[in-house]
C-alpha cells in the first residue's frame, strides 16, 4: 500500500507546502485553532454553506489529498473508497444541539444542527464534493482509530473493492472538550508540550485539524512512500528496525513513561506535537511528516530540543538517506500503535 497524496488542515493553515515550511522552520503556532479564514478561503462547494467546522476541515483535507494524488475521481467514481477516523466526532455541533434542547425544549431543536451532529456527516460531504460513489464510512476511537482506518483501507485494496482509498483523521476543539481535557489532566492547559520528557504527568495543549491520505496499490515513482506495516494493541511489536522514530508524545495520554522504551533505539528520534498540538489524530499528522521525510529525503528538526534522557534527537534539519520511519504511540493502558513507512523501491 502506497501513499500517493496528502492533504492537511491544522493550526499552521492548509496544505503540504505550508506544512513543509512549518517543519523546516520549526514554527510553533500561537494558537492551536484552525483559523476561520483558512476555512473561508477554502472554496468549498456551495451545498456546504451550512456545514460545521468539523465537516469543512475534513472536506478541505480530503479534496487536497485527491488533488495531490492527481487521481481523476470522476473517471471511475466507484473505485475510490473513503474511511474517516475520529475520536469525538463533530462534538461542537452535538453540544450545540444539546444546548438548543436544554434552552428551547425538545420540540424546538434544529433539524440542521441535528443532521450535522451525526459522525458520518463529514464523509457525506466529502463524497459530494469529489463526486465519489465508492464505499464511505466513519470509524470512532479515542487512540488507535487512524490505525484501524488504515487496516480497513488495506483490506479494501487487498480484496479489490477499491483501487484507491482516501483515509484520514479529523478532530476539533471546543469549549466543552477543552474543559474535559483540562479536567482529565487535572490542571490547566500547558502551552509548552515537552515531547521527550516522558513524564508521568505530561504537559499538553488541545488542538484540532484534519489529515487525509490517498493510498493505493499502484506503485509509482510519484508516490510519497510505502506503508510497510500498521499494528496496534498489546502485542504491537516492531518487526523491523527503522532509520527514524517519531513519537506521538503530546501529553494526551497523561502518562508518557512507556515511551522510555525508545531509549534502546540507536536510530534518530523526533516528535512534532508542538507544531500540531495535542490531538487524538496526532498519529495521522506524524504519518504525514514521515511521508514527507521519506519523499524529500530530509529530516526535519524536532521543534522542542529539551532532551533529558539523552536520545539521539533530530537536532537540526538536513538532507539525508532515509529509507524508513516508524511512528509510535502508546495509550494509557500501555497498548502500542505502530505505523511504519518505507521508501518505495523501483518495481521490476
Amino acid at each position: 500500500m502506497y501513499i500517493s497524496g496528502i492533504g492537511m488542515v491544522s493550526a499552521f493553515g492548509r496544505g503540504i507546502d505550508n506544512c513543509v515550511k512549518v517543519l523546516r522552520e520549526a514554527i510553533i503556532p500561537e494558537t492551536y485553532h484552525v483559523s476561520q479564514d483558512v476555512i473561508a478561503a477554502g472554496k468549498l462547494p456551495r451545498r456546504m454553506r451550512r456545514a460545521d467546522k468539523f465537516s469543512k476541515m475534513a472536506t478541505l483535507a480530503a479534496m487536497d489529498a485527491v488533488e495531490d494524488s492527481k487521481l481523476d475521481v470522476k473517471k471511475k467514481p466507484g473505485s475510490l473508497g473513503i474511511v474517516l477516523s475520529t475520536a469525538f466526532g463533530p462534538h461542537v455541533t452535538t453540544f450545540k444541539f444539546l444546548d438548543d434542547l436544554v434552552t428551547y425544549g425538545e420540540e424546538n431543536v434544529s433539524p440542521i444542527t441535528f443532521s450535522h451532529s451525526v459522525h458520518n456527516a463529514a464523509v457525506s460531504y466529502i463524497t459530494s464534493a469529489i463526486e465519489n460513489h465508492g464505499p464511505a464510512l466513519t470509524i470512532a476511537g479515542f487512540v488507535f482509530a487512524f490505525h484501524q482506518a488504515l487496516h480497513v483501507a488495506r483490506s479494501w485494496l487487498d480484496e479489490k473493492r477499491c483501487e484507491n482509498v482516501l483515509v484520514g483523521c479529523v478532530d476539533e476543539r471546543g469549549e466543552v472538550s477543552d474543559a474535559i481535557i483540562s479536567g482529565k489532566m487535572g490542571r490547566e492547559k500547558d502551552f509548552n508540550i515537552k515531547p521527550f520528557d516522558f513524564s508521568a504527568n505530561a504537559s499538553m495543549y488541545p488542538s484540532e485539524g484534519a489529515v487525509f491520505f490517498m493510498v493505493t496499490d499502484d506503485a509509482s515513482e510519484k508516490n510519497y512512500c510505502k506503508v510497510d506495516g500498521v499494528l496496534h494493541g498489546a502485542f504491537a511489536e516492531d518487526k523491523k528496525e527503522s532509520d527514524m522514530y517519531i513519537l506521538d508524545t503530546d501529553g494526551l495520554s497523561g502518562d508518557e513513561t512507556p515511551y522510555m522504551d525508545i531509549k534502546e533505539k540507536k536510530a534518530m528520534i523526533s516528535g512534532y506535537s508542538p507544531l500540531f498540538g495535542s490531538t487524538p489524530g496526532l498519529s495521522a499528522f506524524h504519518c504525514a511528516v514521515a511521508a514527507l521525510t521519506i519523499k524529500n529525503q530530509r529530516v526535519y528538526v524536532a521543534p522542542v530540543q529539551d532532551n533529558p534522557h539523552g536520545l539521539n534527537l533530530c537536532s537540526f534539519g538536513k538532507n539525508m538517506d532515509i529509507d524508513s520511519v516508524a511512528c509510535i504511540k502508546y495509550n494509557c493502558l500501555r497498548e502500542r500503535g505502530y505505523i511504519r513507512l518505507e521508501r518505495s523501491k523501483k518495481e521490476g
Partner: protein, 388 residues
C-alpha cells in the same frame, strides 16, 4: 472457494431477548411498542424498547449490555463459550448513540455550573464499543467501531468480511448495537420523519419511523476454519456492496442510484442473478422518501414480483444496530426456511405500486439480501446464501 460462513447468530430487540423469541414474535405478529420509559422525555411517540434489559445508571452502558447479550448468544452457537482468546479474532461493531457525547444531564451541569463531570467522561472514553467488547471476549485481533448512521451494522459486517479475506483475522464478531435515547428522538422528530402511531413500512398511509434499540451480531469465519472445528455452516455471507449516493446529507437519491449499484455489486460478487434471490429484507423505515426510493430500485433490479419485507415494524428503527439485526434476521430466515410478514402494512401506495410480504411465507430459493440506507447517503447490501 473458501466462503465466509456464519457460525453464530445473536439478537436482542423489542421483539425478544434472543433470536428464538424474536422469530416467535415475527410468527405471531406481536409488536411491542409504547411511549418511552428507558429515558426521560416529554415526547410520547411510540418506541420499541428492550424491556427485558434493566436501565443502567450510566449512558452508554446500555449499548454495551445489549451488544453483549447478542454476542453471548452468537458465541455460544458458534461453540466459543469461553471467549476468543488465542483465536486471532477481530471485533467490528456499528453504533451511533454510544459514540456520541450527547449526555443531556452532563451538558446541563456544564452549562449551569461550568463543571465537567469527569466520571461520565471517563466512562465514555473507556467505553468505545468494539474495544470494550474485544476486551470482554478476549479478542486479540483488529477492532473497529463503525459510526455510519443507519448502515453502521451492515458496514461493520462488510469490514469484518474484508478483514478475514485479507488475513487480518480468522474469526470476527460483527454487527451492530444501539440504545434508545432522547437526542435522536428529538432530532428525527425535528426532521419531520417520526410517526406518532405505530410505523407502517411501505403502507399508503405511513407517517414515518419509530425508533428502537437492540443488537444483532454474527460470528464470521472462513468455511474451512469452521469445518476444521467440526462445524457445518448453514448460511454464508457471499457479498457486500457499499455505495455512496453523493447526493444529500439526509435524503436518499431520488433514483436510488447508490442502492441500485450496491445491489448489483452483491449479485455480481455472489455470481447470482436477480431471479435466484428469494427475498430482500429491506431497510423499510416507513418514511415517505425511503420506502418510495427503495421499492423503486427493488422493482428495477428484481421485477414487480419481488418478495420483500421490513422487520422495523417489529423492532423499530434501531439506527446503528439495524444493519446487524437485519443481517441476523435474514440469515435466520434462510436457515429456518420462512420469511416474516412486513408488520404494519395494510394498503398499497400507488406511488410504490407493489406490496411487501403480508403473511409468513416459505422460502423456495437459497439466496437473500439485506439492505441498509444511511443518513449521509451510504447504501449497504449484504448477500446471504443457504448451504446446500
Amino acid at each position: 472457494m473458501d466462503r465466509i460462513a456464519i457460525t453464530g447468530i445473536g439478537a436482542v430487540s423489542a421483539a425478544g431477548g434472543n433470536l428464538k423469541e424474536i422469530l416467535r414474535s415475527f410468527e405471531s405478529g406481536k409488536r411491542n411498542a409504547a411511549s418511552p420509559s428507558v429515558f426521560k422525555t416529554s415526547l410520547t411517540y411510540p418506541v420499541f424498547e428492550v424491556l427485558s434489559m434493566p436501565c443502567p445508571e450510566q449512558k452508554g452502558d446500555r449499548t454495551i449490555s445489549l451488544a453483549m447479550v447478542a454476542i453471548k448468544e452468537a458465541l455460544s452457537q458458534a461453540g466459543f463459550i469461553d471467549g476468543l482468546k488465542g483465536r486471532n479474532a477481530g471485533v467490528c461493531l456499528g453504533t451511533t448513540v454510544a459514540s456520541q457525547l450527547n449526555d443531556i444531564d452532563f451538558y446541563r451541569v456544564f452549562k449551569n455550573k461550568q463543571t465537567v463531570q469527569m466520571e461520565k467522561i471517563e466512562r465514555f472514553v473507556k467505553g468505545n464499543l468494539a474495544e470494550t467488547v474485544s476486551r470482554r471476549v478476549n479478542a486479540e485481533g483488529p477492532s473497529a467501531t463503525v459510526v455510519n448512521a443507519c448502515s453502521s451494522g451492515a458496514d461493520a459486517i462488510g469490514i469484518a468480511i474484508s478483514w478475514i479475506k485479507s488475513g487480518l483475522c480468522d474469526i470476527a464478531v460483527a454487527g451492530g448495537a444501539d440504545e434508545l435515547e432522547s437526542v435522536p428522538l428529538c432530532g428525527f422528530r425535528s426532521l419531520g420523519i417520526v410517526s406518532d402511531i405505530l410505523c407502517a413500512p411501505f403502507d399508503r398511509n405511513r407517517k414515518g419511523l419509530n425508533l428502537g434499540e437492540g443488537a444483532g451480531v454474527l460470528i464470521l469465519e472462513r468455511e474451512s476454519n469452521a469445518r476444521g472445528r467440526g462445524i457445518a455452516p448453514k448460511v454464508f455471507v457471499t457479498g457486500y456492496g457499499s455505495v455512496s449516493d453523493a447526493y444529500h446529507l439526509t435524503a436518499p437519491h431520488p433514483e436510488g442510484i447508490g442502492l441500485e449499484l450496491a445491489l448489483k455489486t452483491v449479485l455480481k460478487q455472489g455470481k447470482v442473478t436477480a431471479k435466484e434471490v428469494a427475498f430482500i429484507n429491506a431497510h423499510g423505515t416507513a418514511t415517505l422518501d425511503n420506502d418510495k426510493v427503495e421499492t423503486k430500485v427493488l422493482k428495477k433490479v428484481f421485477g414487480d414480483n419481488v418478495k420483500f419485507f421490513s422487520t422495523k415494524g417489529y423492532t423499530g428503527h434501531t439506527l446503528g444496530a439495524a444493519g446487524g439485526l437485519e443481517a441476523a434476521f435474514t440469515a435466520s430466515a434462510l436457515d429456518v426456511g420462512w420469511m416474516p410478514s412486513s408488520a404494519g402494512f395494510v394498503e398499497i401506495d400507488e406511488e410504490i405500486g407493489i406490496a411487501p410480504i403480508m403473511v409468513k411465507t416459505q422460502i423456495d430459493k437459497k439466496f437473500a439480501i439485506s439492505t441498509s440506507l444511511a443518513f449521509g447517503g451510504n447504501n449497504a447490501a449484504l448477500l446471504f446464501e443457504r448451504a446446500e
